[in-house]
C-alpha cells in the first residue's frame, strides 16, 4: 500500500493474527482487512460496524443483492480490488456468478428484476454524478421498491463509496481469483465485523 504504516505499522498481537490468517487461509491478508486493523480507534472499528450493518443488518434486500450493489458501485468507481472482492461474494451468495457478470457488463439487459435494476441505476447515477433528483427516486419507487429499501441501498452505497476511495487511494493490491473466492466465503460466513 502507498503508506508504509499500512504495510508495517502493526503491533505484535496484530502481526500474530495476520500470520495465523495467512497459515489457515493459505492466502495473504487482504489490504482491505489490514486497513481496518491500523489504528482501529480512528476509522476501522466504526467502519466495520457501519459496513456490517449496511451489508448484513436486517433489510428486505438479500445479502446477495447488497453484495451486487457493492460490486456495481465499485465498478462505477473503477476500484478493481473491490470489484473483484464483491463480484466473488455476490456470485457465491446468488450461486450464480454469470448473473453478477451480466449486471456489471450491461445493467439494462441483465437478468435481474426491475426493482433491483432501477435501484442499481440510481446508485450508479449518484456515485457517478455526485447527486440524484426526486425524479430518479420516483423511478425506483415506481418499480416496486419501498422507501425503506431505497434507504438500505443508500447505506450500502455510502459504505462502498468510502471503501472504494480508500482502496484506490492507498493502492490495495489485487488478489488472485482463488484468494478473492476465499475472501468471499469468509465475508458470507462472518460478515464485516
Amino acid at each position: 500500500m502507498r503508506l508504509d504504516v499500512l504495510n508495517r505499522g502493526y503491533g505484535p498481537g496484530t502481526k500474530v493474527l495476520f500470520a495465523l490468517i495467512r497459515v489457515f487461509s493459505g492466502h495473504p491478508v487482504p489490504d482491505a482487512a489490514k486497513l481496518v486493523f491500523y489504528r482501529p480507534g480512528f476509522y476501522g472499528a466504526r467502519a466495520k460496524k457501519f459496513t456490517h450493518e449496511a451489508m448484513r443488518g436486517p433489510s428486505a434486500w438479500s445479502v446477495a443483492d447488497r453484495e451486487l450493489m457493492a460490486a456495481f458501485v465499485s465498478k462505477v468507481n473503477e476500484s478493481a480490488f473491490c470489484v473483484g472482492a464483491h463480484t466473488a461474494t455476490a456470485g457465491q451468495a446468488y450461486q450464480d456468478a454469470a448473473k453478477v457478470q451480466a449486471v456489471l457488463a450491461d445493467l439494462e439487459s441483465a437478468p435481474v428484476e426491475d426493482g433491483l435494476r432501477a435501484t442499481l441505476r440510481m446508485l450508479g447515477t449518484l456515485t457517478r454524478e455526485g447527486t440524484v433528483g426526486a425524479g430518479d427516486m420516483r423511478e425506483v419507487l415506481s418499480a416496486g421498491v419501498s422507501p425503506q429499501q431505497v434507504q438500505d441501498a443508500l447505506a450500502v452505497c455510502a459504505a462502498f463509496n468510502t471503501t472504494d476511495r480508500l482502496a484506490n487511494a492507498f493502492g490495495f493490491e489485487l488478489l488472485s481469483p482463488e484468494a478473492f473466492e476465499a475472501g468471499a466465503k469468509y465475508l458470507l460466513k462472518r460478515g464485516y465485523r
Partner: protein, 108 residues
C-alpha cells in the same frame, strides 16, 4: 431502535470519529479534507482526487504531501476524512431526494 436508524446511527458514529476522535492531524485539517474545501496546495491534488477521481491517485500525490511535512499518520487520517466526507455527501443527497420523492421530509 428501528433497523434503519441503526444504519444511520452507525454512519454518524463513523463520521464523528474521523472528525472529532483522537488523531494526529488537527480537527481543522480533518474538517477541510472531509469537506474537500480550502485544502492547502500540498494536499490539494491528493484530497481532491480521493473525493472526486479516486482511481487517479498516484504515488506522486502522496510524495508531494509528505515533502511538505505531512506524516504518514496524518495522511492516513486525511485521506480517510476525504473518502468518508464524499460518501456522506452522497448519502445525504440520496436521502434528500428520497424525502422529496415521497413527500415525507423525514428521510433526509
Amino acid at each position: 431502535m428501528p433497523d434503519e436508524d441503526k444504519k444511520r446511527a452507525a454512519h454518524r458514529a463513523l463520521v464523528d470519529g474521523v472528525l472529532n476522535g483522537e488523531g494526529r492531524a488537527s480537527a481543522e485539517q480533518r474538517a477541510r479534507a472531509f469537506g474537500n474545501a480550502d485544502i492547502s496546495p500540498a494536499l490539494d491534488a491528493l484530497i481532491g482526487k480521493v473525493a472526486t477521481r479516486p482511481a487517479e491517485v498516484t504515488d506522486a500525490d502522496f510524495a508531494a504531501a509528505k515533502a511538505s511535512g505531512f506524516s504518514e499518520d496524518q495522511l492516513f487520517e486525511l485521506v480517510i476524512c476525504a473518502a468518508v466526507g464524499q460518501s456522506a455527501r452522497l448519502y445525504e443527497a440520496g436521502l434528500a431526494a428520497l424525502a422529496e420523492a415521497t413527500g415525507s421530509g423525514e428521510a433526509g
